[in-house]
Amino acid sequence: MELTLWTYEGPPHIGAMRIASSMEGVHYVLHAPQGDTYADLLFTMIERRGRRPPVTYTTFQARDLGGDTAELVKGHLREAVERFQPKALLVGESCTAELIQDQPGSLAASMGFNIPIVNLELPAYSKKENWGAAETFYQVVRELLSNLKSEEKTHDPQAWQEQGRRPKVNLLGPSLLGFRCRDDVLEIQKLLNEHGIDINVIAPLGSSPADLIRIPEADINVCLYPEIAESTCLWLERNFGIPFSKTIPIGVNATHEFLSELHQLLGIHSYNPKKQTNQSRLTWYSQSVDSNYLTGKRVFIFGDGTHALAAARIAKEELGFEVVGIGTYSREMARPIRAAAKKLGLEALITNDYLQVEAAISEAAPELVLGTQMERHSAKRLGIPCAVISTPMHVQDVPARYSPQMGWEGANVIFDSWVHPLMMGLEEHLIGMFRHDFEFVDGHQSHLGHLGGSQNQTYEQVEEGTITTNDSALTEADPIWTTEGKEELSKIPFFVRGKIRKKTEKYARQVGCRKIGSETLYDAKAHFKA
């Protein structure tokens, strides 16, 4: 039993709903009680979909449990098939139905429907949403391709050359409630088109069962979101010999690498990354003098595996930040995240507990947090600028404008959305600096709320708000700040104050200093520069 106040991922059947709702012409009969219908609002409110998810909930009640719930399931199956005329039927159960073991998938299989039936067994008490989405996508593809298996054993990813056509690939993994999938797909399509590569099938987003049957016609698969599509790509590789790309094109360097990988897999020899025009402004914006102040900015990264990994790479290689913390809530991605953390000299944080993430942020005292909407809230409480890089989805993560994360334009979007919060932080400091000027209008509103620079903060206020959150375990050996030291500290811009405080305390402990005054601050400053 696990105490959960908030969860990054829903249960696995929500993942199945994401696949079903992303597709056309499928229907999902979900054996579940009425409360589970809340899931519709994830799609209609957060994604603002103008259509209900294609899901029939059996909404069994306590009084049904004494009778024949299997009959009830069959009734709903029959009605759903008749009403919605799906081209493929997904059948599964949520946590409660899993306990009563009606086997809705087997029931559906016995009813003589003339359509493919995908029986989903998603263990609700051990797995979560992304796993459920991946498993569902895999099961749907597998079921729809089950008749093809024997015919297509050999696959040559470079056959397009002999066939006198352009190479074509599948984009696998984009789904509803995935981070910026809608726009990523457009960006990647555009990118590949520029390189003479056609798209065969995009799935699950916008695909029909008939589209999925065409998957083996592609030369290679592009695995855009490993959380959703990796198991499917692996299966397609094993059973059809179709290789798949592993680079996720988020960031300028990764986009280059992605293009190289695709060209190599497809046997196109014309690609030279050095010659190719980098169409992203990120590179130049990052080089321009204005970005000098970004140097060594301390960032804390938390999100799904794919976006956290990409963020770490961009932060380090393309913006010159220092990564001071990295983690993910997806256990399936723990291994690559741990490896990335090790390279950065860090220990990865793998957890589903947002309070633990908040504590880690507070401890690392970063200048920028790249996280989920929950980290945005934590960062706000801690007075640290934040940009959102990952699911779980919030209505704000589905912007009206074109806003991909992948490809050249994605890199532009990332530059803007990471740097703006930092600029705002700088602005806060300036507001604080100018507030003693007589022209200054008091009550200037800060986007960071009470922790911004617009208020005349005393050290105590600062301490309450930002610093002591994680210091409940002060021991006798810890140095004490003198009034004079506190005053000196309060003159430091708030967005670097946490870092300076920690470094000074570290220095004080190293040299055995018990009381930190203003001189200690300067000593520490010189010590760490040296």
Binding site: M1, L5, G10, Q34, Q61, H76, T96
Partner: protein, 418 residues
């Protein structure tokens, strides 16, 4: 019984479960914690219904059952003890802990009453542990509050004093206002249940006259009757008329002179009707379809029909307690279709066929209907907004007029731009 045409329907439903009421109950009693014993789905449901974001550590959570909890119930009980102890150590300010049953905990038959009993003796009165079920196999949406309040009834002290007890969560400002009005009428001893502090429970006994503020408190009402209280029959305090009848019923039960009630309420009524007028103009003649969800559907339909001139196409309700709803049913026009239960697909077919001007529905359905060109009002907003009492009637009407007004605004704009 009045003129309503009572119908029933079964099939797939689209309703929240009783866990959803935690979203407002935890705000009403800040010293209480609601611990759902359930699955990841339960946790995800509450955080999604609560508006997805949490701005501070919440006063509700879920003890998520894992595979090994399902394997042995004895272990599940031990595990729950451990989770509760951890939680209470973390949140020492909690005075009342509600263990809330869910679909999975009901199906595997975790006896939360026994767990509560054991924890109560272990905690020695430092924290009171109660239990109720918010499971979707037994309760819908607002019924969760009924369960929570019923669980509190045995803790209420016995007293024979005459008092008026307002039962059901109200917005604090509205509650203050209503109590103030009752005092002006001459009913001085007024208490509220649930209280604002979970430990500050009102008394109950033979002198207690209960006025329900919400229509979904069937079990709580019964439990209070068993403690000697008397339920005052009245329509619910939505709209000018409903609120007037509701207050008059209370006054009558306390044998207050009619002239006095009249002299106090009359100016409020005149003022409220004036405030209502502009919305009445917007709503009058418009056709309304209410899908079942909050259990407020009948009183709302009555208000919107009688005071705002709307035409009722269909009034859905998750379940119908004929006894409590009788005063409401009597006020509905002849042959109003009142549909108990739901077959969501067939109901939406009727919505499409009848093309109402406004549909009251759950959040999951609102945007799809809007996309089809049908204006909607989310029912969940009604359980969060201060809508009770004579003074709030215009605000309540405005909630329904706004979507229509907005559609007009946007349509006009499109026309001028084209």
């Amino acid at each position: 019984m009045g003129g309503a045409m009572l119908l029933k329907e079964t099939g797939p439903r689209e309703v929240f479960c009783g866990l959803t009421s935690i979203v407002w109950l935890h705000r009403r009693m800040p010293d209480a914690f609601f611990l759902v014993v359930g699955s990841r789905t339960c946790a995800h449901l509450i955080q999604s219904a609560a508006g997805v974001m949490i701005f501070a550590e919440p006063r509700f959570g879920t003890a998520i059952l894992e595979e090994r909890d399902l394997a042995g119930l004895a272990d599940a009980h031990e595990e729950l003890d451990r989770v509760v102890k951890d939680l209470l150590a973390r949140r020492p300010e909690i005075r009342t802990l509600f263990l809330v049953g869910s679909c999975p905990s009901e199906v595997i038959k975790i006896d939360l009453a026994r767990v509560a009993e054991r924890l109560n003796s272990a905690l020695g009165g430092r924290v009171r542990v109660l239990n109720y079920s918010g499971s979707g196999i037994e309760t819908t949406f607002t019924q969760g509050e009924d369960g929570a309040l019923k669980a509190l009834v045995p803790l209420m002290a016995q007293s024979q004093d005459d008092q008026l007890l307002l039962v059901g969560t109200l917005a604090n400002a509205v509650e203050d206002r209503l109590i103030n009005l009752f005092k002006r009428i001459g009913i001085n001893n007024v208490s509220s249940f649930p209280p604002r502090e979970s430990t500050n429970l009102p008394t109950v006994g033979n002198g207690t006259k209960v006025l329900l503020t919400q229509p979904y408190l069937t079990d709580t009402a019964r439990a209070l009757i068993n403690r000697g209280a008397e339920i005052i029959k009245a329509p619910f305090p939505l709209g000018v008329e409903g609120s007037r009848l509701w207050m008059e019923a209370a006054a009558k039960a306390f044998k207050i002179e009619e002239n006095l009630i009249h002299s106090i309420l009359e100016p409020l009524i005149i003022r409220a009707q004036k405030a209502l007028q502009p919305y009445k103009e917007q709503l009058s003649g418009k056709r309304l379809f209410l899908l079942p969800e909050s259990q407020l559907e009948l009183p709302l339909a009555r208000f919107l029909q009688r005071e705002c001139g709307m035409k009722l196409v269909e009034v859905g309700t998750p379940y119908l307690n004929r006894e409590l709803m009788q005063p409401e049913l009597e006020l509905l026009p002849q042959d109003t279709p009142v549909m108990e239960g739901q077959h969501i697909e067939k109901q939406l077919d009727r919505v499409r066929e009848k093309q109402p001007d406004l549909v009251v529905c759950g959040m999951g359905l609102a945007n799809p209907l809007e996309a089809e060109g049908i204006s909607t009002k989310w029912s969940i907003e009604l359980v969060f907004s201060p809508i009770h009492g004579i003074d709030q009637a215009a605000d309540l009407a405005e909630l329904f007029a706004r979507p229509l007004h907005r559609r007009n605004l946007l349509n006009d704009k499109t026309l001028t731009n084209v």
